[in-house]
Symmetry: C2
Subunit: 525 residues, 2 copies
Amino acid sequence: MLMTTESTKQEQLHPCNAYTDLKRRFRDVGRLEAIGEILGRDFLTAMPDGAYRSRLNQIAYLYKRVHQDIVNKDIRRLLDKALTHEDNHSTDWDDWDRANLRAMASVYDEHSLIDDDLMEYNAKVANEGRRCHRNALENHDWDSAREHLRNVVDVERRIAEKKLKARGGEDLYDALLQDYCPGYSHSTIDKWFNQLEGSIKGLIPEVMAFQAQKPEPIQLADSYPVDSQMWLNEEMLALFGFDFERGGLYQTGHNPVEGGTPDDTRLVIKNVDTSNFLDSLKSAMHEAGHGLYIQGLPRKSWRYQPVAADLGSAMQESQALLVEMLIGRTEEFFEFLSPRLEGLFKAMHDPTLHPENLCAIKTHVRPTVDRKRADEVTYFLHILLRYRLERDLIEGRIQVEQLPEMWTESSYELLGVSPQDHGEGILQDVHWFVAKFGYFPSYTIGHMLATQFYQTMRQDLPDFYTLIRTGNFQPITAWLNKYVHSRGRLLGPHELMRDITGKEASPEFLMAHLRERYLREEIKI
Amino acid sequence: MLMTTESTKQEQLHPCNAYTDLKRRFRDVGRLEAIGEILGRDFLTAMPDGAYRSRLNQIAYLYKRVHQDIVNKDIRRLLDKALTHEDNHSTDWDDWDRANLRAMASVYDEHSLIDDDLMEYNAKVANEGRRCHRNALENHDWDSAREHLRNVVDVERRIAEKKLKARGGEDLYDALLQDYCPGYSHSTIDKWFNQLEGSIKGLIPEVMAFQAQKPEPIQLADSYPVDSQMWLNEEMLALFGFDFERGGLYQTGHNPVEGGTPDDTRLVIKNVDTSNFLDSLKSAMHEAGHGLYIQGLPRKSWRYQPVAADLGSAMQESQALLVEMLIGRTEEFFEFLSPRLEGLFKAMHDPTLHPENLCAIKTHVRPTVDRKRADEVTYFLHILLRYRLERDLIEGRIQVEQLPEMWTESSYELLGVSPQDHGEGILQDVHWFVAKFGYFPSYTIGHMLATQFYQTMRQDLPDFYTLIRTGNFQPITAWLNKYVHSRGRLLGPHELMRDITGKEASPEFLMAHLRERYLREEIKI
């Protein structure tokens, strides 16, 4: 009766009927989740303000339904049947089907740990947080923010307790971490972060001494029209091969958000600041990395299936940081950009736009209070600050009330600078407001993975830096697509890393990259 | 657990538990339907093109779920219990609760007649039709359009058969009519339309003779910037009291669509034509009428409940035409508009913008092939043409293949003019493409109802024409809100008409209005 769909792996009949049935059910779950993504995008970009409360309830209710569709006896029974079938008729199962079944089971497990009311409430709190954060930031209003955060921490602790009880783990925080950085345990992260803390604290004075030999960069001091900036941002996305037929780049009054689906990838950056085009470019490049990953997932054959999803936040951030920080801060990148900027901003031979100067601005190392504008070397310390605070909050060792004070102390201790107000401190990030406890380590793990991929990619692609210098980014995207994007969840994060680089993930690669870029040392791993 | 909601009639506990449960279930159905509205709006205004096919399937699937949520044994059982409770404990039920229960039962009955796959397929075909229509119109491509229409007629006939069988009615077409014009039977409409056909065919030569005494209006012949037109359109909406906090006005490459919910009423008109601001203004005024009705529905207390819905397409069109045609074509309206247009379009003393000239343009009677630009007198003949063709298609008396020929014949017979190509004929309207068979009569019934309301309103509001001349439209909206919008489905369409005007609906009021406006005759009903 329904229109014929091209035969895809999603629609194909499998010898195991239970698995065929599961594919159909997960396709429908995927459709509801895709609808949720559209609601989220609309919420940020087009929704009239007065729709706010009703929309929150609609989104929350939709996620409750998704949850109910996943957690029910039918699914459990079908999974058991399919898993048995896989054991008994292993030749009927190819690698993709196996991976898909594993991914289905893991989606089920994740959802089965919490009940649908908690799911609904969590979705509501998370969506509410975005506006709460914006208002608190605008009004420097820690009091109202505190109430919301207390609420969030309470919900997240309850979720963590349920997860820890059901699937085990090292501690409450570990239970949350697993949603964002699957496969990386709390103790592994702790070990890596301790190692990085020592190395980076040692590196900073070396870099400062090294860069003291060079003149200070000239800071941007012009007005850069919004339209020109957005044209540049969109063109950069296009050069990297982002498909505007299946997505776009938008501005919002809120913080940026990646997301969407491979069919509809609308990236959102914060409203453009006319005094600094490098900020919106950075944000667009970051979202481009996410967007290319999303658009490159195995869409045609596996559209809504769990195997067609990404490998979680850490892998997502690796793609975003590879584009934004690794490629987007090379000298060659600015050599490509600079003459075009002179034309775009009508500033012939403007010394601030010289490639060396732009590169100097973007690679200048100086501890600041602001994570989003932090340099690549001190960036980790911003993550470490947040990681420790959120870990202690979830473990119940500190209370929400103590956050501003502890933030200030910690900032001074780690970075040597203190925020002047809540906006520069506790209110700068949206993550906790939208219930993303356990997300922050994704940035540093992503940075680690990115540098490790980057090293292999440079060996694989001949004339790598010529590609960048000439604005020919598509071979880079093709490489990422082949090894990462198009594989969805065919491999786990560890298998993927071994497959691509022949090595385990390790902070060594990040350190080697930083020493190469900031001290001109050769890489010796 | 969930955030406290202000106590509304929707959330209140009722002595009848089954009814309380029904209210909760219909609230959730309403949330999914509201999500469907957002998807529809996004589809027309923001969705990237490549998302088209997956979006169709998502929308269709969502409506399948809505259908399943309504048609199930629980709902049937709860309805029976509640209806029994209402009989046995009538004092527990106030008018709103009674009306809500009736509306619930009628939603259930309507849905229970068709199965969920048909529902899904219908939603898909309907959404597909919008693009199919746009492409056929752009490429003058009747061949591809014909295939789609065959498909739609086939589905609609099957739906009509099921509905006719289950709930009775006069014939297949009557079964479809009931969805758009509840309460007006096929034979009633036939009777009215025959009566109108005779009267209007007689009226046209009288009007032509009458208007021949006046000079021909000067046609618009300038370029009117899109931004200025949209500013004017939005300001007109605002003057009528449309709440931009809960909605907005957008342009689309497709045909205009009303819709949304009282919380999020995004009106969509076709991309502005710079050569004629009166077209986009007309469209905006028409959508304003719909939008005010939607925004004025009993939102706070009854948000998603069936009693808070509108009274169907005929009543919707009455509100749209009252704003667009009745108020928007008065001399006083153009007296208000004219000096502002001179400023807006920078054309001081431009004779085309004189109030008399604008009014003459908009009230000039001349049969044309184009419904959307038809004058108020010949408008009915356009509806009659479509009404007869769609009735005969559904009854199986004619085939889709014959449509272009029959359209041309019918147009010549009724209007004395023939389309020069498919775009001027069979392809001009989107309705059939989106499966709206049975909708067209709503325009004429709406026009009838509008003139009947209008007559009472003019008696009720002192200095009615002064209000219009001074751009003070909000008392008019307040009147409509009090008597129509805010009552949702508290009364049926017939009860409502009697309550407001003390009379039954009848085509006499429309005829009297036309004779008053176009022949300067006094109204004597």
